[in-house]
């Protein structure tokens, strides 16, 4: 269980078995995957402050059955939800009468939503958010999070699309936009400023290794020259890996040329539970080795900015 989630601690009274927290201290894909992996069934309600987005998600046995926001339903709504960077959430376990508008495993749905957002470049980058040292979200009292219970009703889908004019964010009910958490935080301190000097590849690879689920990272030239590697790659021959990556990517690029579909974007290779994710970074290729393929969605999310940084170097 991620350290920032301590289930049942954030309870106002014995009857409240919901899980609540701040979006700014985690991210939605992490949260969804946690709920899925821990076999939870129930409804997750979300409220985004700056994006003025509210959403509802129903999860049953690792399947996303319902996702809706004010403007969208289904996968499109999920794409909007995973872009939230602030606000609050509340998960209430139990059955729900929410209609099904989606039927996808959480991992797959998240990955697909990330992919679609990436393709459209609509800013779905979910930042890695680490709580400040010593900070424990769930040690806070109910009053610390200004959760507006009245904003949602589990009995009927909230913010039904028919009541909202597409694209009119200002049409969102004021009760939700007013529910700004009163906890001070410093997001900018957690993010790399665009004005920061270019970091070297060793530093970026080191950050990639901090992404949960990443075992090793290798940067290889198109010819298979291992430019740099990091992580627990001692059990494999790094040169052989470089050669394999080069051979594979060359083959895939040849295929892309033959099919006239452009250069390759991402490549995922699954081996049992493990997965290798290959991504072009400039004239080189980065490969991430992850022993647990179920983390792929999160890895893609959290590594996106770092890959962009690497692209500037190669």
């Amino acid at each position: 269980m991620p350290f920032w989630i301590k289930e049942q601690r954030f309870v106002g009274n014995d009857s409240d078995n919901s899980l609540k927290g701040l979006v700014s201290l985690t991210n939605i894909p992490d949260l969804l995957q946690f709920l899925s992996l821990s076999g939870k069934q129930g409804v997750l309600k979300l409220h985004g402050n700056s994006m003025k987005v509210d959403g509802v998600v129903r999860i049953e046995d690792g399947i996303l059955c319902h996702v809706s926001t004010a403007r969208y339903t289904g996968l499109r709504a999920l794409r909007e939800i995973i872009s939230l960077e602030d606000g609050s959430f509340m998960f209430t376990p139990g059955e729900s009468s929410l209609d099904s508008n989606l039927d996808m495993p959480v991992q797959f749905a998240v990955m697909e939503a990330v992919r679609l957002n990436d393709e459209e470049g609509n800013g779905a980058s979910v930042r890695r958010k680490e709580p400040a040292e010593g900070f424990d979200l769930f040690a806070l009292g109910d009053d610390d999070i200004n959760w507006d219970e009245d904003a949602f009703s589990l009995d009927e889908p909230p913010l039904a699309p028919k009541t909202i004019t597409t694209g009119e964010a200002s049409a969102l009910p004021e009760t939700k936009t007013a529910s700004t958490p009163n906890i001070e935080r410093n997001d900018t301190a957690q993010e790399r400023s665009v004005h920061m000097p270019r970091r070297d590849s060793t530093e970026i690879l080191s950050d990639l290794l901090k992404v949960p689920g990443v075992d090793a990272v290798v940067v290889s030239g198109r010819d298979g020259f291992i430019i740099e590697s990091a992580g627990s790659s001692s059990r494999i021959s790094i040169d052989d890996l470089g050669a394999t990556i080069a051979l594979t990517i060359n083959g895939i690029e040849d295929m892309g040329s033959e099919l006239e579909v452009g250069r390759f974007g991402d490549l995922f290779i699954e081996y049992g539970k493990a997965v290798i994710l290959c991504k072009p970074i400039g004239d080189a290729v980065a490969a991430i080795i992850a022993p647990d393929a179920s983390k792929l969605g999160i890895i893609r999310h959290k590594s996106k900015k770092l890959f962009e940084e690497l692209t500037e170097l190669f």
């Binding site: 298979g224 020259f225 430019i227 470089g242 050669a243 080069a246 004239d283």
Partner: protein, 193 residues
């Protein structure tokens, strides 16, 4: 398809170079020798240490120049050799860039330095990284991979300067990192003069 360095290395690495009946090794339009790296390192280290501080730059320049001329002439011999034509050329699809990749694969296979291209802006700039090289075994102070420095410049000129033998002294190469200096790899930046 591009040049696959593993293929090149595996084809060329297992060599047993020996002198002919005259005790010479004529190859790639030059006479080749096969000597202990300790000799090359000893001489460079002792020569640099022997001269006064104001002469050190001249000695270093001489050591780099030695490698540069070696790299330019032997490099040309290599990329026009039968070995290169049979092993590397079939994989060349990106012109000069692939020839350079092939040249550094050969450079690696023959034990000069386990090195390759990190960045390449064709005709303008190249960054080479070496993760293992015999010059890092030498004693002394500071960055001292004179040989890789000179060879990197030479190879880039063979690829992008005027055709051999008229392309010399078009680019500069600067070593920016070195295993011998405590870095985890050696790095060499070739740029236009």
């Amino acid at each position: 398809m591009t040049v696959l360095r593993d293929t090149v290395v595996k084809n060329l690495a297992e060599i047993e170079v020996k002198g002919d009946q005259d005790g010479l090794i004529p190859a790639f339009n030059v006479l080749v020798n096969n000597l202990p790296t300790a000799f090359w390192n000893n001489f460079a280290e002792r020569m640099v240490a022997a001269v006064p501080a104001d002469q050190r730059a001249a000695v270093v320049e001489g050591l780099v120049l030695s490698a540069y001329e070696c790299g330019y002439h032997t490099g040309y011999g290599i990329i026009t050799s039968d070995e290169f034509k049979s092993v590397v050329e079939p994989m060349v699809t990106e012109g000069a860039k692939d020839v350079l990749r092939g040249a550094f694969a050969v450079f690696t296979a023959w034990g000069w330095a386990k090195s390759g291209i990190v960045q390449l802006k064709e005709g303008e700039r190249m960054v080479i990284r070496a993760v293992d090289y015999y010059e890092s075994d030498s004693g002394g102070e500071g960055l001292r991979a004179y040989m890789i420095n000179g060879i990197s410049k030479a190879f880039f000129e063979l690829a992008y300067a005027s055709p051999y033998p008229d392309g010399m002294n078009t680019f500069n190469c600067k070593q920016t990192k070195g295993i011998e200096n405590g870095d985890s790899f050696g790095e060499f930046v070739v740029e236009k003069k």
